[in-house]
Symmetry: C3
């Protein structure tokens, strides 16, 4: 299992980590199998989405913040990040990506993203590869 750090700079942020995951994959001298990308935090997530127009990431975060804004009156958790916890469960703590001939099998426009929902913070991502 390998790990790396992500440094986030906003409360809500999508950071492309495809390069970091590819580099770790190269280290495994892997051929075919599946790679898991997992974050050990409960106010963050991992997702796959478009890596071409940066407006896609900002639109995803804008809409998510309108649907699930911070600080609603009915929240009982005192840290002010109940919205972040819900976003984490909806987007999910991990992604699984197929690996073929040593390469991530991603679509043309797909990138792997670290999703920050309660930044800025220093975060960790765990990666492991299972061979077929």
């Amino acid at each position: 299992m390998q790990e790396f750090k992500v440094y986030t700079s906003s409360r809500s942020q999508l950071i492309d980590i495809t390069h970091e995951v590819s580099c770790i994959l190269s280290g495994y001298k892997a051929q075919d199998g599946i790679i898991t990308v997992f974050t050990p935090h409960t106010t963050a997530a991992i997702t796959i989405n478009e890596n071409a127009d940066p407006a896609v990431c900002s639109d995803i975060l804008s809409k998510l913040d309108r649907l699930i804004p911070p600080g609603e009156a009915f929240y009982r958790h005192l840290e002010g990040n109940s919205d972040s916890h819900l976003k984490s469960s909806l987007v999910g703590a991990s992604e699984q990506i197929l690996v073929k001939g040593g390469k991530l099998v991603l679509g043309t426009w797909q990138g792997i993203y670290f999703a920050e929902f309660d930044g800025p913070r220093t975060r960790k991502v765990y990666v492991d590869f299972i061979e077929k």
Copy 2:
């Protein structure tokens, strides 16, 4: 790794692909392990839900479209499908299903669905099996 195509006919649609995944699994002569079903598109997703009453699928899509409608004024991405990208990240690009004795381990009412959020289009699904 195997792949197949899905032809969607509406902007939002859930298409049962359980049969296609089962057929691919048969080809592996697999016994026990895990199968991954992944879509390489950023405005689509894979999910598991009820395969009995078709009203479940239409209700899921109706509610999702009310929560996250297309064309909201604050979107900056110019392709008009920012809602589709968010739906893709919330539902997720893949599902993992356990395999036992060569069969998918699904509940009585569970089917595997391709979720289209920006159709109609021709789409791809990738499938791979990891043996225990």
Copy 3:
């Protein structure tokens, strides 16, 4: 593949199943790999979230019920649980957790939860481990 039962007592509920998953993992005498936790129900889900302050779980469920309440007039499915099916697809039927040295690799505050969206019911969870 192993399975265990979960007894839920409310319509919406998050139940910590980390201990049950750890016990099953011990039985595999596993070292390194990945464990899959899967629920075969279409109105429930598996998620990972905070296991410290119980208010986090209640806030997650409160907000989710406000976003996706039961019984909206446009639903066509007659069982009154269309909201539960959508919640199931958004949170997801399974989680994958890395295993290192025989232990679940979870963050300090992470627990594995069974998410009930149409209880109270008796539910099943399937668990299987794939070694590296």
